[in-house]
Symmetry: C2
Subunit: 414 residues, 2 copies
């Protein structure tokens, strides 16, 4: 007879005690397990070209142009539909990527190592704002930015990370949560803490003071620069909690722009998927919900690990970006205690008397309470090539938690 | 007949609309009005050597050794008691300094320019933590640090500030208040935002990558690095509000370690002083209230300008440093609305639905309500040469507000 409580205790203990440290940066082909020359990784559960949404298609096109494998959209599409290029989820390769999450073989990725349990996780570099690949833009300005990031910035970042001796991302996040970040949609504090940790090493690693200056500016001016290492850190924490026999804790939540998928610690690698929703939120001038793509990206790994929407009480200022009031932000966190197994020991909320963030989504509690996880997210235009049009709040479909619970009952013979 | 309400509206409008920008860095003797070779500036209202507390004496000794004018404590004391070296408040020279606040002729000072009204303000460089001059330590380790700061860091900082085109400190503070700072005792976010603003220019201005690296580390690792520019910015805001005929708004609050002094907008340059109190707070291991010096420093210029203790609701995490609970932090801000004339338009508090911080201490309200201003502060050891031993909360004596109100009534013939 399995003991679900005990299994969930073990899963969440492992999630919380995981200590993800940014130890390096490498080429995806060299460092991501199972990466291949003919492979593109993408956010969310598995998907085909035919079912892919506009921003995911745009990012695939852009990545193949970046790799020198396609010259334009038509050529990229042929490569994918003919099977010469394969698509697989980042999550199948210990990786995560924000929004479209497309990661190609020669892209640079952050390397996170969980010092407690030894597992690794990976994420690509953050491009900043505006027209960017992760939102499905792929024109020459996007390509030029990607080339600079990979040819100029990545080697210096790699050397700086190594010279720093590694950056403890759990500690950085704990600090950033006391500085108004929630770690998903608001990473202002974390990104400047990231700059602070690396700046002395970037200055030394750069081949010239001009290059050092450019990289310091690129990292400092991008209030999402730490998002990708944070996501990989959350992936390392969530993976540490995966595969515990009898556990009902969610260890993956991810969206490919069409489907929202979850995986559960005690249910192996099986995805439970349902339709991804359009976020409710605030739109940039000139855009509305009609332009919005359904929710996309692996960044829900933050909520999976107990931050992001779950830690909104730490980030009252975020409501100016995602809509709502500071009281709503507090209430969001309070609501998430209803569906989580425990409270985090390292991620705490000053405004709630330093209570730990709600951690470890329990599919039983989601189904029992009828409360689905709350997610903070960016909003992509539904057409390829445009980019971000807003930010807001979204929830996964309830059906996937119900299906997971049915599967759990079947698996364990209840 | 004077109209106090109208005068206070004008004073607080000027305080709030002042836009202090960090425009440069210069040698005190060259840039501070009225600075002289035989002069040392100090925190708080005027004081003699005989009445000075331990940490102020220690800082005076240390500054004279730094200037090459004394070799030891005895020689420094003779210079001051003989009148060869004079002591005057920073506040008499458009300057402010944290803790002892001692500023000597060859020290580097930040130059703040109020772009709205044209007045300037100055503050020395922050030395970081541990044994430091501002807490009255003056041994060779303190001297070596001061020499490095002045010989190596200051020229690069000057060039970087100039190349940056200036840093809008009001905007930086507004952002930092949304990132868990209150701007006096917690400047973690502001200091990394300061690093972010300067890093690209420091990299370019430094003579070598090693020096760039050292300076980036010194600024990034010091969570108070922005305190001194912030204090000078608050001084520029408060000075803009000073000298309004008929105004009961406090434009200076400062302590020299013996006396707490205030000045009032409509009462010219006259100080109202009373005994400085020992803060209540948390002490570092091995120290207690018995070791503490009475409250010292010009850093209360932050509360004078509507931040610091007045903005504690923005900084719930600070209670781990100064004592109390997050609820106390909210209550402190709420209490300060009782004694202030208005609410700030640029400094807002997310947790209070973006309400403006309580701004413009009105001596009438202090006396009427019996509520004195709440101040967040560091605690110095009462003996020279030791340094910081804790942090906590303090209030000025009520008597000085009563005396100021009596003087106001006499001045304006009530």
């Amino acid at each position: 007879m399995i003991n679900i409580e005990q299994a969930n205790r073990e899963a969440t203990d492992r999630m919380i005690e995981a200590r993800p440290v940014l130890v390096g940066l490498g080429r995806a082909l060299d460092v991501i397990p199972g990466m291949r020359e003919d492979l593109l990784l993408h956010a969310g559960p598995p998907i085909t070209w035919e079912r892919a949404s506009g921003p995911l298609k745009g990012a695939i096109i852009g990545a193949l142009i970046f790799e020198g494998k396609a010259r334009d959209a038509a050529e990229a599409e042929r490569l994918v539909t003919s099977g010469q290029i394969r698509l697989e989820p980042c999550h199948h390769h210990q990786a995560v990527g924000p929004m479209a999450g497309v990661t190609s073989p020669s892209m640079a990725v952050y390397i996170i190592e969980n010092k407690t349990h030894g597992n690794r996780a990976f994420s690509n570099l953050n491009e900043g704002y505006g027209k960017v690949l992760r939102y499905g833009a792929y024109d020459e300005s996007v390509q030029a930015r990607l080339r600079w990031m990979h040819e100029v910035m990545a080697p210096i970042l790699r050397d700086a990370i190594e010279a720093s001796g590694g950056i403890d991302i759990r500690a950085l996040l704990a600090e950033a949560l006391h500085m108004g970040d929630e770690g998903h949609n608001r990473n202002k504090a974390g990104s400047v803490l990231f700059l602070k940790a690396l700046a002395p090493y970037i200055a030394k690693a750069a081949p010239s003071s001009e290059v050092a200056s450019d990289i310091l500016k690129a990292i400092g001016d991008n209030a999402l620069s730490v998002l990708n290492p944070v996501m990989a850190a959350c992936k390392a924490m969530a993976d540490a909690a995966h595969g515990i026999q009898g556990s009902t804790i969610v260890t993956t939540m991810a969206r490919n722009g069409t489907d929202f998928g979850i995986r559960v610690s005690g249910l192996g690698d099986r995805w439970f998927t349902g339709p991804s929703q359009v976020p409710r939120g605030l739109y940039f001038p000139g855009f509305s919900a009609e332009d919005a793509n359904p929710d996309i990206g692996d960044s829900t790994i933050t909520e999976t690990a107990g931050i992001g929407g779950f830690a909104m009480a730490t980030a009252p200022a975020i409501v100016t970006f995602v809509s709502g009031t500071p009281k709503d932000a507090i209430n969001t966190t309070l609501e998430m205690y209803e569906i989580t197994f425990t409270e985090h020991r390292y991620f705490t909320i000053p405004a709630l008397d330093f209570r730990g963030t709600p951690t470890g989504i329990d599919i039983r509690k989601v189904v029992e309470t009828g409360i689905t996880p709350r997610i903070n997210t960016g909003i992509a235009h539904k057409e390829a090539g445009i980019g971000q049009i807003g930010a807001g709040l979204v929830r996964p479909p309830m059906s996937i938690f119900e299906e997971a619970l049915v599967a759990f009952a079947e698996e364990y013979g209840f």
